[in-house]
Symmetry: C2
Subunit: 506 residues, 2 copies
């Protein structure tokens, strides 16, 4: 067991899922906690992963006509005060800058000095400051639609934080758009939800349900909030991205107007949408296993790691050259907007230690290459979608020519496994008793949560939703976008338009 602790993840998912998650994030070198309460350090492996998220999403945003801009980190207090609901939502948990200097204090330490006339808030989200710019940039219908995205850090003062999932500072993108009609704005809101779903499913290999939030779960100030919801391996839901139709609420609060073709002054219709570094946590919890992270190849910072076994080699340089040749051959193969990326790990470490490090980091393919492999013109291959002992000797040229295909197989396997897990933990529920049983802790299994995704008819009564949440910690994750037939609410017996998705959630 002492050996196991140094290699695989302790505890396992079954033993303690939340702790398993924290251990994977740390031992896969994704991130760590910092000396600043609730703020994380994103380590190089985690940062490279996030950069891949950014590159792909940024391409999708540009392909749908958006341009990036950058707005101030600070928001004047009076801006937050403009939209009442928005204030309530964000004023409770923000970092407030009150001084602009440190001076030597009486005890020799530094004390804040130079009090600001108006406190500044470190942006928790940028609707208000971007709205201020929009009110200047937009004059006539010719300036619409205005389609802007920002990549930025934001701060929300969180009491209980978890690496990636809930941190006081996080990285994200926030799209902000203004339109002439509610139809166009709603179309944009839906378009960006589809972009997020596409990214989650086809890049992260993470199946999602697209839907709409109930009133109680809406973004503060929004008219409608759409979302994508994924199931983690503890059967809890994770909200992986949101897209908000803001109506004219922010446009009216911030005077975002345009002159129509007919010469009338009208308020714009606006949207906002965002995904964050939380999606890194979602990937860990969707694909990780008891050996660590498993990376979908389309986003992996490295696709293939080559471990030269030179320790007892008669001619270590020849082995290294053989490895370099394989790497060179792989690096010219295109793979989803880049090329197959290869690391050759020549560090002065024990082979087993190195191998386990790459297992934990989730690299899709590992190649062990020693003199015997070189003699046979082969490689000793391990795939991260198979068990860590499942290795096979493969002809070198056959491997190189199949590498792209193997990566696509791994991508597909991860998606299929996640989808199968979700489907196995999803059911239709037709009575409150059945619902309560589904989400109740079974005897002898003390670790929450239980159940999974429960598709049940619901009349939409907010009081019922609140009660179920208070009693059981279960909420409506979304009203699914597609399909569904009318029925009867399992709680009230009133009519229901369609089944909604209930789950415990992050």
């Amino acid at each position: 067991m002492a050996t196991k602790a140094k290699t695989a993840i302790t505890p396992t998912r079954a033993e303690n899922y939340p702790e398993w998650y924290q251990q994977v994030v740390r031992r896969a070198d994704l991130a760590e906690t910092s000396a600043v309460r609730g703020c994380m350090v994103i380590k190089p492996w985690g940062c490279a992963l996030w950069e891949n998220y950014q590159r792909v999403l940024d391409g999708m945003f540009k392909a749908t006509g958006h341009r990036n801009a950058y707005f101030p980190l600070f928001i004047p207090k009076r801006f937050l005060e403009k939209e009442a609901e928005h204030v309530d939502g964000f004023a409770k948990e923000c970092a407030v800058v009150t001084h602009h200097r440190l001076e030597a204090g009486p005890d020799g330490g530094l004390v804040p000095a130079g009090e600001l006339e108006e406190p500044l808030i470190v942006r928790p989200t940028s609707e208000t400051i971007i709205g201020d710019a929009f009110s200047r940039w937009i004059e006539s219908y010719r300036d619409l639609p205005l389609l802007i995205n920002q990549w930025a850090n934001v701060v929300r003062w969180e009491m209980r934080t978890r690496l990636f999932l809930r941190t006081s500072e996080f990285l994200w993108q926030e799209g902000h758009t203004a339109h002439a009609t509610p139809e166009e704005a709603m179309e944009e809101t839906e378009r960006m939800l589809d972009v997020y779903a596409d990214f989650a499913e086809n890049w992260m290999a993470m199946p999602v349900i697209t839907g709409e939030k109930t009133a109680g779960e809406r973004f503060p100030g929004a008219v409608r909030t759409l979302c994508i919801e994924a199931m983690m391996q503890d059967r809890k839901a994770l909200q992986a991205g949101t897209s908000h139709f803001l109506g004219q609420n922010f446009a009216k609060a911030q005077d975002i107007t345009y002159q129509s073709e007919e010469g009338r002054l009208e308020h714009c219709w606006t949207t906002s949408w965002g995904v964050s570094t939380r999606l890194v946590g979602a990937m860990v919890m969707t694909h990780g296993d008891d050996d660590g992270l498993r990376l979908p190849p389309r986003l992996a910072p490295a696709h293939v790691v080559i471990l030269p076994m030179t320790g007892r080699a008669q001619d270590p340089e020849a082995v290294l050259n053989y490895c370099r040749k394989i790497a060179d051959d792989l690096r010219v193969i295109p793979f989803h907007g880049r090329h197959i990326e290869v690391e050759i790990d020549t560090r002065d470490l024990r082979g087993g230690e190195k191998n386990w490090q790459w297992v934990r980091r989730g690299v899709p393919i590992r190649l062990e290459v020693g003199e015997r492999d070189m003699a046979g013109d082969s490689v000793f291959m391990a795939r991260r979608d198979k068990g860590h002992k499942d290795k096979e000797s493969v002809d070198r040229t056959a491997f190189v020519s199949r590498a792209h295909e193997i990566l696509e197989e791994i991508q597909a396997t991860l998606y299929e496994q996640a989808a199968a897990f979700r489907d196995a933990n999803t059911c239709e529920i037709d009575s409150e008793a059945e619902f309560r049983e589904y989400f109740a802790a079974p005897e002898g299994e003390p670790t929450p949560p239980h159940g999974g995704f429960a598709w049940a008819h619901f009349c939409g009564d907010e009081a019922v939703e609140d009660r179920i949440n208070d009693e059981m910690g279960v909420t409506v994750r979304c009203i699914p976008c597609s399909g569904g037939e009318p029925g009867t609410c399992i709680f009230t017996g009133k009519p229901s338009e369609k089944r909604v998705v209930w789950a415990k959630s992050y």
Copy 2:
């Protein structure tokens, strides 16, 4: 003149250089001031330009073995207190977070609440917080060198701000590295200075002098500060990038140690280096003319803009299709890590207004395309390195096949013009009287500055440097890295190792 104000930049460089600069930044749609004191909004055109800077620099950093990571925005007050010189340098001008909530106040507005036990500083630079991580990450000589870069926003509370050149919040990259020996750390410091010089000269088309700062101009806490210095069109110097050898100062303050191969515990030798959005301002001031911005093609967000003249066309769609064909043909031509980027401007605006907008934005090549051009299978081309009236009809296929070459010509022209300007405003000076005359305001020319780069012998006496700065606003920009012969200080008559570069500066 009223017409001119709508097209070219008012005032001209000769009339009022600082105001010309602000106008170019605004009218080229690079950036604007915001409602937050000293913070700017980087508009889409400016953001796209900065993204190109980032892409190229990031590639250079990775090619020299660096990996990106991300560290907290906030720095605990006690961290800043650790390195005395560093505190003095940054405590004076920082944003201090003291509360983590806003609550309804007596007058109905919001007031800060939830006072923090320890104030947090919004990072002005990250040596201290990254050093804290390094002290955990580094155990043995096997972990060295540790080569990390961060792309981030930083805040320095500035009293007098100017878009891009000096803003309270700015975007930058900061490299932080740790090494086993002073030689390796100094080699890294020089390597990154060379990367900056390469970027400035070969991408920004901006000639720079590489050199070392005198003691008074060093980064707070550094042992040596290297820099690149460029000449703006008002003949003032602009520090365009710095690379610091920090010795063991930060390693000792922050306990960054490693176990050597011999088993001894040693302090690391560290470096840091950075460039910022200030480089966007440097580009404006190096290449801009009285018509606006001129972009070096290797960094331009768009290389070619096509203006379809469809207003009086009999078949506007045919003209548009002809334009699209040209764009398609150009977009497959590789150009320095991307492809030739083309905009087709079909906005519902007057042709003259559109044309001037692209002139001001500095796009290297503009093509006006109407029915007559289509009939002749040609394009009407204007190059931004020539006067705005200097347009010529060019055969379409000849243009497409020459486009890459024309862009390289424009890149070279911008560099040559900047180098010629600098050389024309640089001289060797051999006496204090001559020096004073060179930098004094000539009769009837009230607008500073005067002179340019004065290469003069200097003994290095800090008191002399301070006096010259106080009296004339002239400082040593750098002690050049290369060349130089011993001589006699023009101020003290003492021996001088080599000529140093004096100038007024930003």
